[in-house]
């Protein structure tokens, strides 16, 4: 369409539209922006800040006007149906090619990181934190990305893993290497116990039940004071050893420590670097496991189930058992990560396992692109590493998180790196009005 043939802008309509938007902004901001509650003698007082309201209303008006002018003056998008889909496929193809190169490079970089000249204790600490979230993201990816089960209580299994290590070490004096698999098994068992009754339900109910379960675990941890230490948490959790060699400065009688065994000078960095490699290995195991699972019949069944449950049932796949396996495996990896968390921190309390933590892990999976392993890595680096960079803006962290989750969903509902293996479809999606309601 040539530019000359377009009718002139209807300024009246544009101003009316922006005016309505500004009016709504006024409604939103007049109390929340304009009046601030402040503590003062004898109760609450109210401060006014009308300038904020004016600013909000004016900026919404101008923003809406600019948007509307932009919308009216640019070429109308004329994409034949299906183009977007094939574009997405081309993009996915591109990502797959890139990730073949990028993934090994990233792994090499991760292994080399502690020995690079610029690395410091701070950088390795941040990298360990990022890797913990990458591992949790990969674990949750099995549940959400592959099997399509929305789990809002993933942190509960993380908590189960952390507490089982701490409690086993406290009551039975087990070492980290015995507790690590046990913690995973415990968490997976919890997953099965919880999943068995609820996985037969529709997906949305599952989300709420897992959310409730996460809260229950937290409430129990807080209130069962004699066993879990309640809100005080558990401290002096034993640190891991290098296959039996402890990382301590003092050398105990008739035994060796890490630095004497290898003939090194003692350095507190040894343990930091060891923990870094430990979580790197755990995360890579999770990734490798997931990649292999996707090629097995069970993994294929997960993805098929995500796409269409009814079709799966007609093909003889047992939906409950298939979902249960994904749920339990995801929970198990959270258990591993949890026991790593406990040994790294040396202290755990219910404070570390709130709903926000679940939401952060979910945000990593969702923003990265559900089902995409590389997406999880990128999202973790951006979200966790990024918030480390902006430590000074701590109070804006969660609001940005929430806003990002909404923005990414609206802009790219499949995440930044969308990856869907079954790209062969009989008919293009998003033409059925029922699609958002379908019982997958």
């Amino acid at each position: 369409m040539a530019k000359a043939t377009r009718p002139p802008l209807n300024w009246l309509a544009l101003f009316k539209e922006s005016g309505v938007a500004a009016l709504i902004a006024l409604g939103l901001s007049i109390v929340m922006f304009g009046l601030r509650t402040v503590d003062q003698q004898g109760g609450l007082g109210v401060q006014t800040r009308w300038s904020w309201v004016v600013f909000a209303v004016v900026s919404v008006f101008i923003g809406r006007l600019v948007l509307a002018i932009y919308r009216e003056t640019r070429q109308p998008p004329h994409t034949p149906s299906g183009t977007q889909d094939s574009e997405q496929n081309r993009f996915a193809e591109f990502v797959r090619k890139i990730s073949k190169v990028v993934a090994p490079l990233l792994i090499i970089f991760a292994i080399a990181l502690p020995f690079l000249p610029f690395s410091s204790r701070y950088i390795i600490d941040v990298a360990t934190l990022v890797l913990t979230y990458i591992m949790l993201g990969w674990g949750l990816n099995i549940v959400v990305g592959l099997a399509g089960l929305l789990d809002l209580g993933y942190v509960a299994f993380y908590a189960v893993g952390a507490y089982s290590y701490a409690l086993l070490a406290y009551y039975f004096d087990f070492s980290f290497w015995i507790c690590l698999p046990l913690a995973g098994i415990f968490a997976a068992t919890f997953g099965i116990i919880l999943g068995f009754p609820v996985l037969r339900l529709r997906g949305d109910y599952l989300a709420i039940v897992t959310l409730g379960f996460g809260e229950i675990i937290r409430v129990v941890l807080i209130n069962w004071y004699t066993f879990t230490g309640g809100p005080d948490g558990l401290s002096s959790i034993p640190r891991p050893s290098f296959f039996g060699l402890p990382f301590s400065r003092r050398v105990p009688e008739d035994s060796e420590t890490f630095h004497t065994f290898f003939g090194l000078d003692y350095s507190s960095m040894h343990r930091i670097i060891f923990l870094y490699f430990l979580i790197l290995a755990l995360a890579l195991i999770t990734n490798f496991f997931t990649l292999r699972m996707r090629k097995l019949p069970l993994g294929r069944a997960w993805e098929a189930l995500r796409e269409d449950e009814t079709a799966c049932r007609s093909l003889g796949i047992n939906p409950t058992n298939t979902k249960l396996s994904a749920f339990a495996i995801g929970a198990g990896f959270a258990g591993f990560a949890g026991s790593f968390f406990a040994t790294r921190q040396g202290f755990i309390s219910p404070e570390s396992f709130t709903f926000i933590e679940s939401a952060v892990i979910l945000a990593i999976v969702v923003l990265g692109g559900m089902g995409s392993q590389l997406g999880v890595v990128i999202a973790s680096i951006l979200l966790i590493g990024g918030t480390e960079l902006f430590r000074g803006l701590e109070e804006f962290r969660m609001i940005t998180f929430g806003g990002l989750m909404v923005a990414v969903m609206v802009w790219k509902p499949r995440g930044l790196l969308a990856h869907r293996d079954p790209t062969l479809r009989l008919h293009a999606p998003s033409h059925t009005p029922e699609s958002h309601k379908s019982n997958t």
């Binding site: 409604g27 929340m32 609450l44 806003g403 969903m409 499949r414 009005p433 379908s438």
Partner: protein, 304 residues
């Protein structure tokens, strides 16, 4: 026995508030089949708006209490509805045709956003307010225990039932209600028959937010203490109530709300107050296992 009656009164009051919030969940779920996760936070915003309005009215010097409550109620309903509408417009409408989990995730993001938005704007501290409606009626006076019902409790229960009847009327007998029910059955067909589906869905959100606003005013009057986190727990409880009663069913939401309120109150009264949330969630799990459609819900027909 007196203790039991007193707890019954308290439970019904709490249940009424839950029921009002639960209606918002159940209406939205009925019409677009999504859990509006941010609904609890819309309730929380309503609570903040009403608290601020009460403070402002106190400063201006409007002291005739019935008028003050009515004024706060109206202002809160309008402003909270604007929030409900905006949330739908920004976070859910663009995802109408997207895959099923997308709006739910967007709703979770919205919930986190709203919580922190309020925390940043109004501060993280707990906000107390002086009791506004005081006094009550003594029902039974024995030697050991006095059963009272406060005027506030009467107001809460009456307001809830009044609003319930109004909304039941809107859904069953107005053209808006008819379009809502039509959209619930088949959005495509409804749009072919000349129903503005987007507008109907928006109005559903507005109605849900308005009821949550009423609940929030009653909450502020009843408890007198709020913070930016109340929406999370109230939201989960109300959603549990909606599921318990049968999601999509309006009387079910009210019934579920009353049951959850009673369960929570009696559990705190007779067992332990720490585990009252556990009790509510356990009920939810049990209901979902044995009666997934809830008490008054219709069985769902799966279509290919």
């Amino acid at each position: 026995m007196e203790y039991f009656i007193q707890q019954l009164i308290n439970g019904v009051t709490l249940g009424s508030i839950y029921g009002l919030i639960a209606i918002g969940y159940t209406m939205v779920y009925g019409i677009i089949g999504m859990i509006n996760f941010a609904h609890g936070d819309v309730f929380m915003i309503g609570a903040f708006i009403s608290l601020i309005m009460f403070l402002v009215l106190g400063l201006i010097g409007i002291t005739w209490i019935p008028f003050a409550i009515l004024l706060v109620l109206i202002v809160t309903m309008i402003l909270t509805s604007v929030y409900g509408w905006t949330v739908e417009r920004l976070a859910y409408r663009p995802l109408r045709k997207s895959f099923r989990l997308a709006p739910l995730i967007s709703a979770i993001g919205m919930s986190i956003f709203l919580q922190n938005y309020v925390q940043l704007l109004q501060g993280a501290r707990v906000k107390p307010i002086q009791p506004i409606v005081e006094g009550g009626i003594t029902l039974i006076q024995s030697d050991t225990f006095v059963v009272t019902i406060s005027y506030l409790q009467i107001i809460i229960v009456l307001a809830t039932f009044l609003l319930m009847s109004i909304f039941a009327y809107i859904i069953s007998s107005t053209s808006l209600g008819r379009s809502q029910r039509a959209c619930e059955q088949d959005q495509l067909m409804a749009s072919l028959l000349g129903i503005n589906v987007d507008r109907t869905i928006s109005l559903t959100f507005v109605m849900g937010a308005a009821l949550a606003a009423v609940a929030s005013v009653l909450f502020v009057l009843y408890y007198g203490v709020i913070d930016f986190y109340i929406g999370f727990h109230a939201g989960i409880k109300a959603f549990t109530a909606a599921v318990l009663g049968g999601i999509g069913s309006l009387p079910g939401a009210m019934l579920g709300g009353l049951l959850i309120g009673l369960i929570e109150t009696f559990w705190s009264a007779y067992f332990s107050i720490e585990y009252k949330d556990v009790a509510a969630f356990s009920i939810l799990v049990l209901v979902l296992i044995f009666r997934p459609t809830g008490l008054l819900g219709k069985p769902e027909i799966e279509k290919v």
